[in-house]
C-alpha cells in the first residue's frame, strides 16, 4: 500500500468522487488552479476542468448557498471553507437551510449530496482565527452529520463515506496533521462507515475519548498512564453526529470511568453531550465523575497556546484523578 499524508489521502478521495459522478463539483476560495491554501485540491482542476473545480468569490455564505442549490439539483456539491474559523458567515445556510431542507419539504427536496470540507483546530500558532474547533456549534443541529478523521487512512475512508452519504455532512480536517500524519492508505476506493466510533486500544481502568487531532494527545497520555500502571481504553469517536453511544457506553460499563478531551472551549463543547448521555446510560457503573479535559473558556490564544491546550500532561492528570477518585 502506498504511503500518503492526510492531504494526499483527501486529494485521492476527492479524485475518486469526481470521477464517479459527472456533475460533481469542488469549489471554494482558492481551490482552483492553486489547489487550495493547503493544496488539498491540487491537480483536480487540471484533471476535471475549470467548470467542475473552481474558485469562488470570497463569500462563505455564498459558497454554502451555492452548494445547497447544487445539491438540491442532485449534483454532488463538495464545498471547501478555507478555515473552520470562517464557517460562521455560512452558519445560516448550514443550520437553517442544509439541515432542514429535507424535513421542511416533506422530502420533496433534499441536499443529501452536500459535503463541506474544512480544516480546523489549533497547535499551529494561528491565534483566534486560525485555530478554532467549531464542531459543537453544529452538533446541536438535527439533520447534519459531522465527521472528524484522526489520520490519513481514516481521512480517505471517511471522506468517501461523507460524499456518498445522502445527508449533508461537515468533514472537519485536523490541519495540524495535514502533512504530519503519514501512513499506508489504499490507492483505490474504500469507505469507513459513519456514526461508528473505533476502540483504538483496549484497556480496563478508564476510557479516554477524543476525535481528530486530539487523538494523538490522548494516545500519548495513555502511554504515559501505562507506564504508571494504568490501563487506558482509547476511543476515537470519529462521528460527532450521529455519535456512537453504544460503543462508548459499553466501554464505560467495563472501565467505570470516562475522560473526554477536545480542543474547543469546555462549556457546551461536545464533551458536555457525551458526559450528559453517558452518566445517564452508565449511572450504576460509574466509579468516578466523568471528566472533560478541554480548551479553556476563552478565545483561542497565541502566545500562551501551550498553556491553553488540553495537552497530554493535562489528560494524564485527569486520568489519574479519575482512577484515584
Amino acid at each position: 500500500m502506498p504511503q500518503m499524508n492526510m492531504l494526499q489521502a483527501i486529494n485521492s478521495a476527492l479524485d475518486i468522487s469526481m470521477s464517479e459522478h459527472p456533475l460533481a463539483c469542488i469549489f471554494g476560495e482558492d481551490v482552483g488552479h492553486f489547489g487550495g491554501v493547503f493544496r488539498a485540491t491540487s491537480g483536480l482542476q487540471e484533471k476535471f476542468g475549470k467548470h467542475r473545480v473552481f474558485n469562488t468569490p470570497l463569500t462563505e455564505q455564498g459558497i454554502l448557498g451555492f452548494a445547497n442549490g447544487m445539491a438540491a439539483a442532485g449534483a454532488p456539491a463538495i464545498a471547501e471553507i478555507q478555515f473552520a474559523d470562517y464557517i460562521f458567515p455560512a452558519f445560516d445556510q448550514i443550520v437553517n437551510e442544509s439541515a432542514k431542507f429535507r424535513y421542511r419539504s416533506g422530502n420533496e427536496f433534499n441536499v443529501g449530496k452536500l459535503t463541506i470540507r474544512t480544516p480546523y483546530g489549533g497547535g499551529i500558532a494561528g491565534g483566534l482565527y486560525h485555530s478554532q474547533s467549531p464542531e459543537a456549534y453544529f452538533a446541536h443541529t438535527p439533520g447534519l452529520k459531522l465527521v472528524v478523521p484522526r489520520n490519513a487512512y481514516q481521512a480517505k475512508g471517511l471522506l468517501r463515506a461523507c460524499i456518498k452519504d445522502d445527508n449533508p455532512v461537515i468533514f472537519f480536517e485536523p490541519k495540524r496533521l495535514y502533512r504530519a500524519s503519514v501512513g499506508e492508505v489504499p490507492e483505490g476506493d474504500f469507505e469507513i462507515p459513519l456514526g461508528k466510533a473505533e476502540v483504538v486500544s483496549q484497556g480496563s481502568d478508564v476510557t479516554v475519548l477524543a476525535w481528530g487531532a486530539q487523538m494523538e494527545i490522548i494516545e500519548q497520555a495513555a502511554k504515559m498512564a501505562k507506564s504508571e500502571g494504568i490501563s487506558v481504553e482509547v476511543i476515537d469517536l470519529r462521528s460527532i453526529l450521529p455519535w456512537d453511544v453504544e460503543t462508548i457506553a459499553q466501554s464505560v460499563r467495563k472501565t467505570g470511568r470516562l475522560v473526554i478531551s477536545h480542543e474547543a472551549p469546555i462549556t457546551n463543547g461536545f464533551g458536555a453531550e457525551i458526559a450528559a448521555t453517558i452518566q445517564e446510560e452508565c449511572f450504576l457503573h460509574l466509579e468516578s465523575p466523568i471528566t472533560r479535559v478541554c480548551g479553556l473558556d476563552t478565545p483561542y490564544p497565541l502566545a500562551l497556546e501551550k498553556e491553553y491546550i488540553p495537552d497530554a500532561l493535562k489528560v494524564l492528570s485527569a486520568i489519574k484523578n479519575s482512577v484515584h477518585f
Binding site: T59, R104, S105, V245
Partner: protein
C-alpha cells in the same frame, strides 16, 4: 477587461465623483390602464392560450387570497399571505418560463405554483397541515413546494434561496460545457427562476447570489418584486439607490425594470431574459414595480405605518388591466368569466371545508426526513415518545389513536 484589477481602463485627470444615481433606469410598460398597447410599445405577440392561462391563474389566486384571508379572520387557518397587486408580476413571469424550469420563490408567489397546475386541494392541504400536505404538515401555511412541478419548497429565512438558485442553475449548465474549451457546447435546457422581495434583497445572501451568478455565468433569472414594503419598512428605509435594478451594473448583470402590474410587460421581459440566459448562461436581473395592495400578512395591519392617501393613490389592479386587454382582444366573454368566478369561489369554500377535516400527519412524520433514514438516537427518542403517548392518550388526541 483584460487587466489584473478587472476594471475599465479610461483615465481621467479630473477629480469628480460618479453621482449616487448616475444611471437612468426606465420602467418598461406595454399596456395602458385601459388594456390597450401603448402606441409605441413592442408587441410581445402573446398567444391566446397563454394569455388565458395567465388570466385564469390570477383570477384563481385573487379568489383564493380573499377566501383564505377571511378564513384566517374566522380562526380557521393560523396565518395567510396575499399576493394582492403582484399577481401579474408573478404569474406572467412564470408563464414566460418552461414548466420544468425550477422556481425558487420567497413566499408571495403562489400564483406561479398555480400556473404550473398545483391543485386547489394541494393548496388547502398545505394550509391545514393535514396528512395530505406534500410537506407533511411541518411548515406554516403558504410554505408550498412540489418536486413534480419544479417549485422548491418555500423556506422562511429570507434571501437564502438567492445563492441557492445560482448553484442550482449552475449545476444545470455543467453538462452543457465543453470541458476542453470551457465554452457552452449547446443551449442550456433550463434556467432557474429566483423570486425575492426588495426587503430580502438587503440580505448578504443577495450579494453573494448575484455576484456568484455573474462570475460563474449561471443561467438564473433574479426576479426582484419591489412592492414598496418589507412588513412595515418602506422602500426608502430599505435602500437609497434607484430600486434594485441599479445594482445590476455593479455585478455585471444585464438588467431590466418592468411595471409589475402589467402582465404583458412582465411576460415580454421574462421571455427575453430566459432566451438570453439559455444561450449564454448569463444571469439576468428583473425588477418588478408593483405596490403591495394588501397587508404584509394576516399578522399585520398596514394602517399603522402607511397613510390613507398613499393607499388611495396606489390601487392599480393588474388583473383588471389584463382583463381589459383580453376583452379588447376578444378572447374573453365577460358574463362567462363572472359565472366561472362564482363557481370557483364555491369550489374554494368547499375545498377548505374538506381540507380542514382531514386528519393531521401520523406520529412517524415527526421524525421522518430529518435524515434519509432516522439515526439511532432519534429512533430511541421516538420509541420513548410512543410509549409516553400510549401511557397518556388523552393528552395527545391528534396522534394517540393512530399509534402502532
Amino acid at each position: 477587461m483584460t487587466n489584473p484589477n478587472n476594471v475599465s481602463l479610461n483615465i481621467s485627470h479630473e477629480l469628480s465623483f460618479i453621482g449616487a444615481h448616475a444611471l437612468d433606469i426606465p420602467t418598461v410598460s406595454l399596456l395602458n390602464s385601459d388594456g390597450t398597447l401603448h402606441s409605441d410599445a413592442t408587441d410581445p405577440n402573446i398567444d391566446q392560450d397563454t394569455a388565458l392561462r395567465i388570466y385564469k391563474t390570477m383570477r384563481f389566486i385573487r379568489a383564493l387570497d380573499e377566501r383564505m384571508q377571511a378564513a384566517q379572520r374566522q380562526g380557521r387557518v393560523s396565518f395567510y399571505m396575499q399576493c394582492l397587486g403582484e399577481e401579474a408580476a408573478v404569474t406572467a413571469s412564470a408563464a414566460a418560463l418552461k414548466d420544468d424550469d425550477m422556481i425558487m420563490a420567497q413566499y408571495r408567489e403562489q400564483a406561479a405554483l398555480r400556473y404550473r397546475g398545483f391543485t386547489l386541494e394541494q393548496f388547502m392541504n398545505q394550509m391545514f397541515s393535514n396528512k395530505e400536505d406534500l410537506g407533511k404538515g411541518r411548515q406554516m401555511p403558504i410554505h408550498y413546494g412540489s418536486q413534480e412541478l419544479h417549485y422548491m419548497t418555500i423556506s422562511s429565512p429570507l434571501g437564502t434561496q438567492i445563492p441557492q438558485a445560482t448553484g442550482h442553475a449552475y449545476s444545470q449548465k455543467v453538462p452543457h460545457i465543453d470541458a476542453s474549451t470551457g465554452e457552452l457546447s449547446s443551449e442550456i435546457n433550463n434556467v432557474t427562476m429566483c423570486y425575492f422581495g426588495e426587503g430580502a434583497a438587503s440580505e448578504g445572501d443577495f450579494h453573494a447570489g448575484l455576484n456568484m451568478a455573474a462570475v460563474h455565468k449561471a443561467p438564473v433569472i433574479f426576479f426582484a418584486r419591489n412592492n414598496g414594503y418589507a412588513i412595515s419598512t418602506p422602500a426608502d428605509e430599505q435602500f437609497a439607490g434607484d430600486g434594485i435594478a441599479s445594482r445590476g451594473v455593479g455585478y455585471g448583470i444585464k438588467t431590466i425594470r418592468v411595471d409589475g402590474a402589467d402582465a404583458l410587460a412582465v411576460y415580454a421581459a421574462t421571455k427575453e431574459a430566459r432566451a438570453l440566459s439559455v444561450k449564454t448562461g448569463e444571469p439576468i436581473l428583473i425588477e418588478s414595480i408593483a405596490y403591495r395592495l394588501g397587508a404584509h400578512s394576516t399578522s399585520d395591519d398596514p394602517s399603522g405605518y402607511r397613510s390613507k392617501e398613499e393607499e388611495a393613490n396606489n390601487t392599480d389592479c393588474p388583473i383588471a388591466r389584463f382583463k381589459r386587454f383580453l376583452l379588447n382582444q376578444g378572447w374573453l366573454d365577460e358574463a362567462q368569466d363572472d359565472a366561472e368566478d362564482e363557481t370557483l369561489r364555491e369550489e374554494i369554500l368547499n375545498a377548505l371545508k374538506v381540507a380542514e377535516k382531514i386528519e393531521k400527519p401520523p406520529l412517524e412524520d415527526l421524525i421522518s426526513d430529518v435524515y434519509d433514514t432516522p439515526i439511532p438516537s432519534l429512533q430511541r427518542q421516538y420509541d420513548a415518545l410512543k410509549e409516553h403517548i400510549k401511557a397518556h392518550p388523552q393528552a395527545y388526541p391528534v396522534t394517540a389513536g393512530r399509534i402502532k
